[in-house]
């Protein structure tokens, strides 16, 4: 992915000095690195599609892929901010496990005794309890890191052991199941999807939002008479983004319910099953929707708020940030609180999906999350990273894993491939940055 972008003279300010590709990239202000990642993802998908004899690029597999990526993608958005400030969080997998157990116990043992089994508020209270615990753990880590000056690596390495042990302690190792019915919707599946109609509505709303955002940005720049993108570039960006959104919705809407579930549903609702079967689409899965909302919210936080600006400034030059009057310690603590909260959201998705809370849940997730962020272009030396990149990174890791499962590759070999892919991806990124930036 570095070759295609090598001759783009990003260094120079004048678009006229560039070739046609360079002019195009200049006009659209597209992130070449992100394009490279999308290209890599596409290549991997096509490769698996061919090797598996056409099993990979099916609505069913892509839908599952999106659901499986959700939990790691959510946590990766927070890891970006952590790594951007030159910290690391090794404890997210253990926090996920611990918070999952807390939420499991809350909704399966604690609340039914107080509110009665199946009370509609149970899922919300359990989720809030989990969120509180996650943020509190993050605050604790952040406090020790920022105010007591213990390196994040050590604090979160300790956290990895402490919270994994804590997850066991909650129920002395017993698995908690089943989860509350409403809570389970966060895990996806037939019930945990929003159906075709709502999926189209979400897709169209997203498209309208994209167009409005492009127009708003343009009018803002006109207000101050800054240089603007040519109108064709704006139209191109809008069209491509909207077709990607609608394409994704179409894929989600092409994945039908399994025949057995359709039959039961038809019987329960007195629907005649027509010749050739009844087609009821899954639509977008709720965990995917959660991940997308988190991604959008985190992008907003990173790019549009003071907090986000400070995160990047601290990552670029901690001393300068301090001298500029930024309360770097408090910002650091807030980042870890955010990370803890996102680990709790990850725990909601993964316990809901499993319909159980186990003390081993999320084991090694920290490595997947860090890998996703790093493959997504977050630099371990700090200051650089994007939320969207990290989410794509999560998708890429999951694609490799599930592609190899489809091909029937042994687990040890899967680990070897994923490990190598991580190293190669970061190496390519290093080459790219050396040439371009």
């Amino acid at each position: 992915m570095s070759d295609a972008t090598a001759e783009v003279p990003v260094d120079r300010a004048r678009a006229t000095e560039a070739g046609p590709i360079g002019r195009f990239l200049n006009a659209t202000e597209l992130d070449t690195r992100m394009l490279g990642m999308l290209g890599a993802l596409l290549i991997i998908w096509l490769m698996f599609h061919v090797l598996s004899g056409g099993l990979f690029l099916t609505p069913r597999n892509l839908w599952n892929l999106s659901v499986q990526s959700a939990s790691v993608a959510v946590m990766a958005t927070g890891m970006v901010l952590v790594i951007v400030t030159r910290n690391i969080d090794l404890s997210v997998g253990s926090i996920l496990g611990f918070v999952g157990m807390i939420m499991g116990v809350t909704q399966a043992q604690l609340l039914p005794g107080i509110l009665g089994f199946g009370h509609p508020a149970i899922w919300l209270l359990a989720a809030l309890a989990g969120l509180c615990v996650g943020v509190t753990i993050g605050a604790l880590h952040g406090f020790v890191i920022a105010y007591l000056g213990v390196p994040a690596f050590i604090v979160t390495l300790g956290g990895l052991l402490v919270w994994r042990g804590g997850a066991w302690w909650v129920t002395s190792g017993q698995t908690v199941a089943p989860m509350d019915a409403t809570f389970r919707l966060m895990g996806g599946g037939v019930d945990g999807s929003i159906g075709a109609t709502w999926s189209w509505i979400v897709g169209i709303v997203a498209c309208v939002a994209v167009v409005l955002m492009l127009m708003n940005a343009r009018s803002q720049r006109r207000r101050f008479s800054f240089p603007r993108r040519p109108i064709w570039a704006e139209a191109f960006l809008g069209a491509v983004t909207c077709s990607l959104i609608l394409g994704a919705v179409w894929v989600a809407n092409s994945y039908p319910w399994p025949v057995g579930i359709v039959r039961r549903y038809a019987q329960a609702n007195n629907i005649e099953i027509p010749e050739g079967g009844l087609f009821i689409a899954h639509g977008i899965a709720i965990p995917v929707l959660i991940a997308l909302v988190v991604g959008i919210a985190m992008t907003f936080i990173a790019n549009r708020t003071r907090f986000g600006r400070y995160v990047f400034a601290i990552g670029g030059n901690p001393e300068a940030a301090e001298l500029a009057g930024i309360n770097t310690r408090w910002v650091t603590m807030k980042i870890f609180m955010l990370m803890g909260g996102l680990a709790a959201v990850g725990a909601m998705i993964s316990t809901a999906r499993l319909n159980a809370a186990t003390n081993a849940q999320g084991t090694l997730d920290e490595l997947l999350v860090i890998a996703a962020a790093v493959i997504g272009g977050t630099s371990l030396s700090g200051g650089v990273g994007t939320i969207a990149g990290a989410m794509l990174g999560a998708m890429l890791m999951q694609s490799l894993a599930s592609g190899m499962i489809l091909l029937g590759v042994d687990t040890p070999l899967q680990n070897i491939v994923v490990g190598l892919a991580l190293v190669v991806a970061v190496w390519l990124d290093t080459v790219y940055r050396r040439r371009v930036g």
Partner: protein, 262 residues
Amino acid sequence: MAQEATPPLVELKNISISFGGIQAVDDASLDLHAGEVVALLGHNGAGKSTLIKILSGAYRRDAGTILVKGEEAVIGNPRDAKKYGIETIYQTLALADNVDAAANLFLGRELRTRWGTLDDVAMESQTRKVMGRLNPRFQRFKEPVSKLSGGQRQSVAIARAIHFDARILIMDEPTAALGPQETAQVGELVKQLKADGIGIFLISHDIHDVFDLADRVCVMKNGQVVGTARTQDVTKDEVLGMIILGKCPPGAVPGPGAAPLS
């Protein structure tokens, strides 16, 4: 001078600070009036930057007082210093390399829209204005400052210091990274700011950079003030003698660091 009647803009009294047993600044006193340029001279490691970082809030002093306009000022961190109108251009420039000029200019003082989000266009607009004054050829507003040249980075750092109505400006080796033409530009800027009534501390280890710009010089050696003098009362050679030997000439007011007369 007429200014002597009013209290100085800023007065550092008997400042001391030590790092792990090393007395970096020892009982140093210094003052600055409005519209005055005071050059702080000395070898590397003489304590100039440390003294000035105490004023800018980067370090906390062990002893001594700081008066701003005759009143005692509480400066515990850089934010406090900025509240008193003390702005600093650091030797290292202290820029966040990974973000653009506007983000650096407004770092810690971002403009926000009425929804509380960053108002990037407004910040870029003001950045264009102030940079247009300092460095009219500057066009790279969208690029991270790591991609800018030394002179361009310097102008971003200067822009940040003068954009927020500074009353006291500290310039730590402001021309160290610059070519002759840009150095001359900084000289012009200093004269202009001085005419606006801003008090300026110029820190340098090279007397030639600052002697012609300064109204007074203050020389430090081994953390102590050797002496303070008006530039018309001393020669460059005498100031050099202060820097190198710690010898205080007759035209200067000796400080605690002055070498005993032999």
